[in-house]
Symmetry: C2
Subunit: 313 residues, 2 copies
DNA sequence: GATGGTCCATCAGCGTCGCTGATGTTGAAC
DNA sequence: GTTCAACATCAGCGACGCTGATGGACCATC
């Protein structure tokens, strides 16, 4: 016979207390709850042991029980707790359906500008009460680290991260040459034609490194005259005649008449855009839907016109 | 295999969830709580069945478990509930010690004026945070009814209520003659001397009826020229010469020089003052103390000087 | 790639707990 | 007194929860 404490409390006890207080007798409470009178009697006795005090006065004979002053106090707390438990249940249901929730997503400039608005728009339409937080960074490592630490639920990433993350590949984003209209003949440009050309690029990040490695692998030593991480500035510099740029196609505004895009020949290895999350981790329902939507809206980029068609428009 | 719902929730589940989330592994949580790892595993599994969703991602291998998004939500609610349960426990302790509580007491004019202040004063000194509510009524039936309905925790009553209530007798309050000083010789007055005297009395209530019955039993027909339920007004009318009054001694200000008190011979059956509560009902700790204190302070009235000594002072 | 270590899941065994159904007890009403 | 309507108690039993051991997954290390 060990000492019973509130840690042994069960919701069932509170339900029984409430029912007895409401119904007035153990028997009616038992009927209501689908137990026998004996069971209710034992449940209340057990609760009285936990509380360490009588909750009901039993007048004996055919008269109903009545709460003691202690019982009144406990009942008030019990009803409060029951209401809280119920509201937790409802909140969890809302969470499961995505009615409430929060999601934090990592992203970077080109995705922020071209992909994220499409996804966020559909998310807000489907789940108006879901809070969507976005962390944008120039630096892939920041996003990876934050994702690894669990600060991000999801992150857009470049490349495959099969080792560390689970991911859904969204689309391939080819490197294209950005030049002033007419500077090169329409259509593909040979890498060798870029030899010695003044180039505009980004500071060292995964795309830029991928890009430069591709160029060097083709035997040319790029001549960077300006670097910026702002994609708009890269295009602006090209327009201003500072040089040409090799950029992921997603980083360039396809409707900008001041520039012309050219496929490269041979093509550099394209970058693969994916949305990733920590390997093996369960996603919230909202996050799952976010990934689905990201996949759906990415069809736009899978099917997008090739650069020469665009510049020829 | 029946469907588990939140109604099957137990505090133990929440404690286990909290411990695992805090400790990071099932094993350490088990050590902390004095269970085996197996028990914790089963408790969490059981909770996951209740919640109908995984709460932890188990990476497998030597790495600790991590909360799923659902788990985070549930944990937050669990901690809130645990805190609430703890605070209920503390509140109940305070209730038991009388540190908090409320008591509603029925009373009537003479007790309000002479007895209650003594009791309330000591109660407030002992239990400064206990709320004391007082219902005063001219009409005994009101108090009895309110006590019977449970609206009062305690009530001062006149007479024995052995049938309906439990009670503690406090003291006996004799009926005395109230007259102007010198109107009667000091000391006892014969009932027969009151025959035909103009009298001031109360409206029909238990004391007044008791009083009149006693007079009639002694063979005299009282001649009431004025009735009021206000004890001060009775005395004032006596002082003004409207008549004499037969009153419970407690209803008269013993220090009032404008009146003189006389015992009656033969004495009328005195009224017995008691504090009563519903038969068989458990009293709150504060109410128990209230009754004790009422008994203690009533010693003043048990031992109080007889009327002729008072008026001779 | 084999090994050891550290996790959690699972299983069998078993004690305990909670429920049922029947019986005992109490007090009020007739 | 008898009856009735309450709750308490008891024996029995089934289910549940815990223990201790085992198994499986995964990582790190060699």
């Amino acid at each position: 016979m060990v000492m019973a404490t509130l840690r042994d409390l069960e919701v069932r006890h509170l339900v029984a207390l409430d029912a007895v207080a409401t119904e007035g007798t153990f028997g009616r409470a038992a009927d209501k709850l689908g137990y026998t009178q004996s069971a209710i009697s034992q449940q209340i006795a057990s609760l009285e042991r936990l509380i360490d005090g009588k909750l009901f006065d039993r007048p004996g004979g055919p008269r109903p029980v009545e709460l003691t002053p202690l019982g009144e106090r406990v009942l008030a707390s019990a009803r409060e707790l029951l209401a809280r438990v119920d509201s937790v249940g409802e909140e969890l249901d809302r969470f499961r359906t995505g009615e409430v929730g929060r999601i934090t997503v990592g992203t970077y400039q080109s995705v922020s500008a071209r992909v994220l608005p499409l996804v966020v728009g559909r998310m807000r339409a489907e789940y108006p009460d879901v809070e969507i937080r976005v962390l944008e960074s120039d630096n892939d490592d920041d996003l990876d680290a934050a994702l690894g630490r669990g600060e991000l639920d999801l992150s857009f990433v470049v490349g495959d991260w099969a080792g560390q993350f689970d991911s859904l590949p969204l689309f391939d984003d080819p490197f294209v040459l950005v030049a002033r209209p007419g500077e090169y003949k329409r259509g593909a440009v040979r890498l060798s034609d870029l030899n010695g050309a003044a180039m505009v690029g980004q500071h060292a990040n995964s795309c830029q490194l991928m890009n430069e490695m591709g160029l060097r692998a083709a035997g040319l030593e790029p001549n960077y005259v300006f670097r910026t991480n702002d994609n708009g500035t890269v295009s602006a510099m090209v327009k201003a005649g500072l040089g040409v740029a090799v950029m992921p196609m997603l980083c360039v505004d396809p409707d900008d008449p001041g520039i012309e895009l050219h496929p490269l020949r041979p093509a550099l290895p394209h970058r693969r855009i994916a949305v990733a999350w920590r390997k093996g981790r369960t996603l919230s329902p909202v996050a799952v839907r976010f990934v689905e939507i990201a996949g759906e809206v990415s069809q736009v980029f899978v099917d997008r016109p090739l650069p020469w068609a665009t510049s020829a428009a």
